[in-house]
Symmetry: C2
Subunit: 343 residues, 2 copies
DNA sequence: AGAAGCGGTGGGAGCGATAACAATTCGGAT
DNA sequence: ATCCGAATTGTTATCGCTCCCACCGCTTCT
């Protein structure tokens, strides 16, 4: 392997000497500046490959004040949604920016602020916060520093640059769909109150119900987990009034279906179930789950787009970019069946 | 807000001036060097908070040659395993190191080498490669640079610093368990050939079979997806010989169970099914899935530990640190039932 | 009493790159 | 032949920090 002087990695001056030009010219070649003769450029390029030269990012950053690094703050990158968004961001950024992640044990104000601080210390050019909870959005709003920052998956109401799936529309879509199948009303297993997605889905569900003149059943809330869906399902399974349930996410739908099955209730014959998210497995549930798809990847890509625009000096949009969700019709929902409501 | 001179962020000299000391002393306070009087330290600390000073990472890196940043290369951070490992790494690194991710569209040699290059350009202190495929491990082996690098989830045979779940032991564990239940043999739906985990599970399964003197059925392989499990299940559902199936992962088990259900086969009465991974949902499948748990989080933490040791100058271990898997007994496996094999 | 040891401190030299500016060359217009 | 301006190249001054070394004032040893 080519070593420059001593064992240390080659620096720009080494390249310059080998190519017979000045360091400045090497810099110009590296940064695609105009006005470099082909002769010089070729010599530099040859020297670079011969030496295995790699520019020192720290030195460059010191003078340009840009790290070409983005920070992503997330709550739990193990969950399907955050993981997908992160992946979408990373894929979209590849080549343009590095992405550094900061995942939090809890999405409270202090946690978010602390993570922003850590990333700032690292010198990121911009930050994307995967902020599904109100506390996180509030924290974002109170950040004083001038860092470009966009929130994603944060509800559609926040007054900061943000990108989110239109949860309200999605829930309404699913609710109308079930109503259209002939159900008198639709029950809803919501996510935790603190989550904006959960709140917006509740609102969408309620408004679709009201619009159709259907009675609004009492709300029950789980915690997104299959376990909570299962627990709630044990109650629902005994309630003869219930013919259709919209679940806050696919995992809870899975738990619900299992609880129903254990009580001898068939889906969709006795009860229709619709999920939310469209995780990769949901097409293979028993029965395959009808659900509302969120395109998390697109969310990530859009968030990156907005952020990069801000980094490049465009003013921060104060509104939310909404990504429309989509109903995926599989087999877990149908007309109120043979075992329909008694009344 | 406290502004130093002009609008620009305060630098060490500003802190020094305000505290009435030299920049050198500020640096000493920041880096916890001994021999700083409490008076000086307090003055510096006060100045720092008053100014809202934040050390410039690039400048520090330029001289120390450490970025306190780690790179993680991964194939698809959307999958449960990689996402969990990444999360484990990140949580374990929090505070000590930043983690920068590079996810690849494909885990081939060129992709891995390219990602290593990108990270090196960024100046990472070390790299963790989530390398479940042979091609990735080979690529790691051929990296000439002196960067500390550890592979994780890469099979247990690689001759480089690595951390992995003992797949062979896990598969053998599950196979013996099924055999112990009274099954004459155990079928296996493997993952793709190119994946080391898949190969090692196959080996573990085969050896447990051999050990017990059980016949080794023909191998079928899926692609980890529920869809492939479903497809394969359509064949298995018609095969009366099959009483027990070990699946390469939980997703394929899910697909298999659905295919079986559609053909009227009951799990575990007609066929026992055991998965691998223990994804959060598998306890809520119908029936709840008996599976082999991999502690991905621990994997990530251990990988970080090994890497940090290497960064701190310890010699790279040439072997694999094995994390033992664990059988989680739920309801999808039982003794060969009333509908047992005809012979 | 002088030398040596020590905690505490500051001064200056880089680290490796880019930006601003200055300098050189060359062709063509005057 | 002289001058001008564009193209190309080099020189110098930072960027913000840490390291090395010298230095101060004291106590402690010989």
């Amino acid at each position: 392997m080519p070593a420059a002087t001593g064992g240390r990695p080659p620096v720009m001056a080494d390249v310059a000497k080998l190519a017979g030009v000045s360091a400045q010219t090497v810099s110009r070649v590296l940064n695609d500046h105009p006005n470099v003769s082909v002769r010089a450029r070729d010599a530099v390029l040859a020297a670079i490959t011969e030496l295995g030269y790699r520019p020192n990012a720290a030195a460059r950053t010191l003078v340009t004040r840009r790290t070409r690094t983005l920070g992503v703050i997330s709550f739990d990158t193990t969950l399907f949604g955050p993981a997908s968004m992160l992946h979408g961001i990373e894929r979209a950024a590849a080549g343009e920016y590095f992405v550094s992640i900061a995942s939090l044990p809890a999405l409270d104000r202090a946690g978010v602020l602390g993570a922003v601080d850590r990333l700032l210390e690292q010198g990121v050019d911009g930050i994307i916060v995967i902020a599904p909870m109100k506390s996180a959005v509030d924290a974002c709003g109170s950040i004083r520093h001038g860092v470009p920052l966009v929130a994603v998956g944060c509800g559609t109401q926040a007054s900061l640059a943000s990108v989110a799936v239109d949860n309200g529309a999605g829930a309404a879509l699913a609710t109308r769909y079930l109503l259209g199948l002939g159900h008198k009303t639709v029950h809803h297993i919501a996510g935790p109150r603190a989550w904006l997605d959960a709140q917006e889905r509740i609102a969408g569900w309620r408004s679709a119900l009201r619009e159709a003149g259907a009675p609004a059943p009492e709300l029950v809330a789980g915690d997104w987990s299959s376990a909570s869906g299962y627990r709630i399902g044990q109650g629902i399974g005994d309630d003869l009034e219930v013919t259709a349930v919209l679940c806050g996410n696919d995992h809870m739908a899975l738990g619900l279906i299992r609880a129903l099955a254990e009580r001898g209730k068939k889906v969709p014959d006795d009860i229709s179930v619709v999920g939310f998210d469209d995780i990769p497995e949901s097409g293979y549930f028993l029965p395959p789950l009808t659900t509302v798809r969120q395109d998390f990847g697109a969310l990530g890509r859009h968030a990156l787009g907005v952020l990069v625009a801000m980094i490049d000096g465009q003013p921060a949009p104060q509104a939310c970019l909404r990504v429309p969700p989509q109903l995926v019709d599989r087999a877990s929902a149908g007309p109120p069946g043979r075992a329909g409501t008694p009344r």
